[in-house]
């Protein structure tokens, strides 16, 4: 059994970047990282970090199924999201993913950061924002949307590291 297993499924590449970085932070040599697009075998571990890309407030169905199947070990989630995030939207997204873990005691927390948007989504957001927002709001929104195209960035990685450290210090 591994101390840590980092499992990820990344269609945009964003969550994959986080997964590799996260793996390097884990304080053990007895750890494994699995790209679920390449390998569907789930190793046994004491602590799972499960990563994915969020799209339309959900993620790949394989991830949702996996969350309900891990019966032992702690589970922390990490994800990237193509839309600008607020504290409330982070909370709501977290609430939509941690509910797939059957046993609440297994849940250790979730890290979410903005990820680079696919081109078609970027255009769609931009178009909708232009139809809906005032000039001042539009400027603020587009600025954050633009900024998001460089994510995950160094700040996200630093926050991810802090998240991992905090999660591993929690009294479970």
């Amino acid at each position: 059994m591994y101390d840590f297993a980092v499992l990820f499924l990344s269609e945009t590449g964003n969550a994959g970047m986080l997964a590799k970085e996260l793996y390097s932070y884990l304080p053990s040599d007895n750890k494994v990282i699995v790209d679920l697009q390449q390998d569907e075998n789930i190793p046994k571990a004491s602590f799972y970090f499960i990563g994915f890309d969020i799209r339309n407030e959900t993620c790949n169905l394989k991830i949702l199924n996996l969350l309900g199947e891990i019966e032992e070990g702690m589970i922390a989630l990490f994800a990237t999201c193509g839309q600008p995030l607020t504290d409330r939207s982070r909370d709501q997204l977290e609430g939509k993913f941690n509910l797939w873990i059957e046993n609440e005691d297994q849940y250790a927390g979730m890290f979410i950061c903005q990820g680079r948007l696919p081109k078609d989504s970027y255009s769609r957001y931009r178009q909708k924002a232009q139809q809906t927002l005032s000039e001042e709001q539009l400027e603020q929104f587009l600025s954050q949307l633009e900024e998001g195209q460089s994510h995950p960035n160094d700040t996200d990685m630093a926050e991810l590291k802090s998240f991992v450290e905090n999660v591993l210090q929690m009294p479970f």
Partner: protein, 246 residues
């Protein structure tokens, strides 16, 4: 798009518990998952409806406020244009729906008069316990946050401690105690803008509860009486100080 009957969309009764709502959401979210319907152009809309229905049932206060704003907007529309208000269409034509679940109201919450407190953020100089408390609060594990705070000896209970304790009790629904503690945090650290802002938010939230008549029929005289009761309860309960259910 605006969901009219979230219970119907999730297929639960109006008396459904949170667990039943979660189970129903999982069932529907799998049924309408885009991976299972790659060629169905309507599936994103269905999925968004399920998401919104779930949000409405799990965060009713957000939608109650939205309805109030919507009604207010409708009145303004009637006054300014003289036209008949056309229900939800006058509001935005779809806050979420076909927009990948993104909610402009969340993004511009403060612009739209949202005064809901959002929660404490970690600081570089936070001790390990405070970091753990902030993590617990962000996961809505308020009881755990209180337990961690209670392990800290009294000499370590500074303004930051009272600030985090206020948030923990706010999460547990102990509104009066939360207000008392955030006031103590401001008293100990009067120059801290974050504490002052949070105190104002908690005070505004209290006023909203009073205005709405939602289980908060207490004036400050009542609050003082409750504090006296609390002190008595704390005297008898010792370490249960922050866990007293109201």
């Amino acid at each position: 798009m605006a969901v009219q009957d979230p219970h119907k969309i999730l297929g639960v009764s109006e008396n459904a518990t949170q667990d039943e709502i979660k189970r129903a959401y999982r069932r529907k979210a799998k049924e309408y998952h885009p991976d299972l319907h790659p060629n169905d152009p309507t599936i994103n809309k269905k999925m968004s409806e399920v998401n919104e229905a779930y949000d409405m049932l799990m965060n009713p206060e957000k939608y109650a406020k939205r309805t109030q704003q919507q009604n207010s907007y409708g009145q303004q529309q009637r006054q300014s244009s003289g036209n008949t208000y056309q229900g939800t269409g006058g509001w935005s034509g779809g806050w979420t729906g076909d927009f990948g679940g993104f909610d402009f109201e969340d993004f511009f919450g403060s612009f739209y008069g949202d005064s809901s407190p959002t929660g404490p953020q970690a600081r570089a100089d936070d001790c390990v316990e405070f970091q753990q408390v902030i993590m617990a609060i962000s996961r809505h594990q308020y009881q755990q946050a209180v337990q961690i705070l209670n392990t800290m000896i009294s000499t370590r209970r500074n303004g930051r401690w009272y600030y985090l304790s206020a948030w923990s009790n706010h999460g547990l629904g102990n509104s009066i105690l939360a207000l008392e503690q955030i006031r103590k945090a401001v008293q100990l650290d009067p120059d801290n803008a974050e504490y002052r802002r949070t105190m104002q938010q908690f005070q505004r939230a209290g006023q909203t509860y009073q205005q709405n008549g939602q289980d908060f029929h207490m004036d400050f005289g009542g609050a003082e009486r409750l504090c006296l009761s609390l002190c008595a309860a704390q005297f008898f309960c010792g370490s249960m100080r922050f866990c007293i259910p109201f």
